[in-house]
């Protein structure tokens, strides 16, 4: 078994093998452990700061102080809130399903942590280093794991995260949580399609699923955000916001309609876990956007190959890019009003999915054209013409179905 499995592992990068198949030395195990602990602690710390940051920024925009009691600038407010939640009474509704009720918060939290495993956070991608760093004599990447399936792990985890929300709503044995969770599931499943199609454009350019290879392909400012022509990035960001259930897509916990949504019946630490998962997902999703479209930790290292060039500078670039997207999500929350449910579904199904599919086909046409040596302008024009015809047919069919529905709607129902 050892020889066969060992042979898929790229020679000389033993510690990259995330699944520890074959003979595993103590140093390999130690390196993996160090990476896991660093990623775990780093992610938790970033979430604590993110909660504080969001509250502070929104407070500033609303002319309030925000948290300013616990610690300097209220920095420890999140820890104080967490401690308070731990010591609160843990309630469970009488009609709840006890096992699923307890399971749901974990199903929310664990995928959020696991996704971060594939995000490269440092490592120099200049001078032919390809993000390889050496820890304890082992060559490895600055990410917990670099599996072959790479970014598919992110899709798999985001589809598992749906379970947490769905089961939380169902297991509460209560009306509002069930409504909230049905909304959430429908929304997340719908937007996963747009997310995946926008992702496909990136994979077409990168030619690999591995996050390390995706980042490596973007070194030297060949960022996918313009290599794919901006549209997949815009679609991915909108779909990601919907996937996170953050404003303006937070119908899941629309207070005016659903009390608290799927976690209405949760209290104490179980509620804290949902809260944590929400912010973990925000940080992880921002990191994924940075990895896919903005070159992750790649950036100028000024020819340095020592620890400053390999760890400090790349992490600095990564953090800077991450911060931009965290700010973006906070600004979304602070400035945008909530969508209506039918508007969310219309946007997802009638605009984002066709647009991302059309753009992907356009990129494919250009790619095939350049491979075959066709005239690129003619190929592009023909592809655009085909897509416009498709879009026209789509709009026509949507209008026709709307007209048909209007014709049979009840009198007195309005338009």
């Amino acid at each position: 078994m050892t020889s066969t499995l060992q042979s898929h592992v790229i020679a000389g990068m033993l510690a990259n093998d995330p699944l520890l198949s074959g003979e595993v030395g103590l140093t390999t195990l130690l390196v993996v452990l160090i990476k896991v602990v660093v990623a775990f602690v780093g992610l938790l710390l970033s979430v604590i700061l993110m909660v504080w940051f969001e509250r502070k920024v929104i407070a500033d925009m609303q002319n309030r102080f925000g948290p300013n009691r616990a610690g300097p600038f209220g920095l420890f407010q999140t820890i104080a809130d967490g401690m308070k939640l731990i010591f609160k009474e843990d309630l469970m509704p009488e009609r709840a399903d006890p096992f699923v009720f307890k399971l749901a918060p974990f199903l929310s939290l664990i995928p959020a942590f696991l996704t971060f495993a594939i995000v490269p956070i440092a490592g120099s991608f200049n001078d032919g280093l390809d993000g390889v760093v050496t820890i304890l004599g082992q060559q490895t990447f600055m990410q917990v794991a670099d599996p072959q399936i790479g970014i598919l792990l992110f899709l798999a985890m985001s589809s598992l995260a749906v379970y947490g929300i769905m089961l939380a709503g169902w297991a509460s044995g209560s009306k509002y949580p069930l409504l909230g969770s049905v909304r959430a599931t429908a929304q997340m499943v719908s937007y996963e399609a747009a997310l995946g199609l926008a992702l496909a454009s990136v994979l077409l350019i990168a030619g690999s699923l591995s996050t390390n290879a995706i980042v490596n392909g973007q070194a030297g400012f060949r960022w996918n955000v313009w290599m794919t022509g901006l549209v997949p990035f815009v679609i991915f960001t909108i779909a990601a916001t919907a996937e996170l259930n953050r404003p303006p897509f937070d119908l899941v916990e629309a207070e005016q309609e659903l009390v608290g949504g799927f976690h209405t019946e949760y209290s104490s630490f179980r509620f804290a876990m949902f809260f944590l998962a929400e912010f973990l997902n925000t940080v992880t999703m921002s990191a994924i956007i940075v990895t896919l479209f903005f070159g992750g930790p790649s950036g100028p290292t000024f020819g340095l190959t020592n620890w400053v060039g390999v760890y400090i500078l790349p992490f600095f670039w990564f953090f800077l890019k991450l911060l931009v997207f965290l700010c973006m999500f906070v600004l979304f929350r602070a400035t945008l009003p909530r969508f209506r449910y039918d508007q969310v579904m219309d946007l997802g199904w009638k605009l984002l999915i066709p647009a991302s599919l059309g753009w992907f086909l356009l990129l494919v046409a250009v790619r095939v054209g350049s491979d075959q040596g066709w005239n690129l302008v003619a190929t592009g024009l023909a592809a655009v013409a085909g897509l416009l015809a498709g879009a026209f047919l789509l709009i026509l069919s949507i209008r026709a179905s709307a007209a048909k529905r209007a014709a049979v709607s009840l009198p007195g129902e309005g338009t």
Binding site: M1, P147, Q148, A156, S159, L160, V408, P411
Partner: protein
């Protein structure tokens, strides 16, 4: 103990417990969850065999889409209660199920034992995994060369299924059948409902007028307090 053995034992236990749960648990939602556990365990086993892409697809498609749909249907239909299994919905169903189960078990055991000497513990027994390229590249090459017809025909089949589902779920003609309402057209029905509501409102208002005196007093007291 080797890492592989440890992982295998753990996943096998999860798979078996999950499948037992699918059969034995009474609540449909618990059944669906057990199915997810089994599918997840199988995905881990795929990874152990070096079939990374298959594992990812297993989780994304089966756990992420199909079982979610099961759960959706269970929740929307409101059948999420313990089922009474005292008698078979179809006559002789239980006997047939037991016979089929025993037959499948016997067949698998025979197949396993007859080739027992050839179970090598190697990563893959049928296709040699070429270590130089990732799963997905190898799969894509085979899918778009040798099996391109099967691949395309499957996608056509899926499209037909989607179109069929849409056609079946949308009734032909108008969305609201006027004949369903006994008292004339829908407009009449709505008018009747509106009239009934108006009558009710009048009754309520009358009751309110009868109780007006104490309310009036309360108002004056409030004004006095101001």
């Amino acid at each position: 103990m080797r890492v592989e053995m440890f992982t295998f034992l753990l996943t096998a236990a999860i798979c078996l417990a999950g499948s037992a749960g699918v059969v034995l648990l009474r609540n449909p939602v618990h059944n669906a969850l057990s199915l997810v556990a089994t599918l997840f365990g199988v995905a881990v086993l795929f990874i152990q065999q070096g079939a990374y892409f298959l594992a990812a697809i297993q989780v994304i498609v089966y756990a992420g889409a199909i079982v979610i749909l099961f759960l959706f249907v269970i929740m929307l239909l409101g059948v999420d209660k313990a089922e009474g299994i005292d008698r078979d919905p179809i006559l002789g169903q239980r006997t047939a199920a037991i016979a089929a189960g025993v037959a499948i078990l016997g067949l698998s055991l025979t197949a396993l034992l007859s080739v027992g000497s050839r179970v090598t513990g190697q990563a893959s027994t049928l296709a040699a995994i070429d270590g130089s390229e990732p799963n997905i590249n190898a799969l894509a090459k085979v899918l778009f060369t040798d099996y391109v017809f099967a691949f395309e025909i499957t996608s056509v089949l899926l499209t037909v299924a989607v179109v069929g589902a849409v056609v079946l779920s949308r009734k032909a003609g108008s969305a609201i059948d006027v004949a369903e309402f006994p008292e004339g057209t829908t407009a009449d029905l709505l008018q009747a409902k509106h009239d009934a509501a108006a009558v009710e409102q009048e009754v309520l208002e009358e009751v309110a007028t009868e109780d007006e005196t104490p309310e009036g007093e309360a108002e004056t007291t409030e004004e006095a307090l101001r």
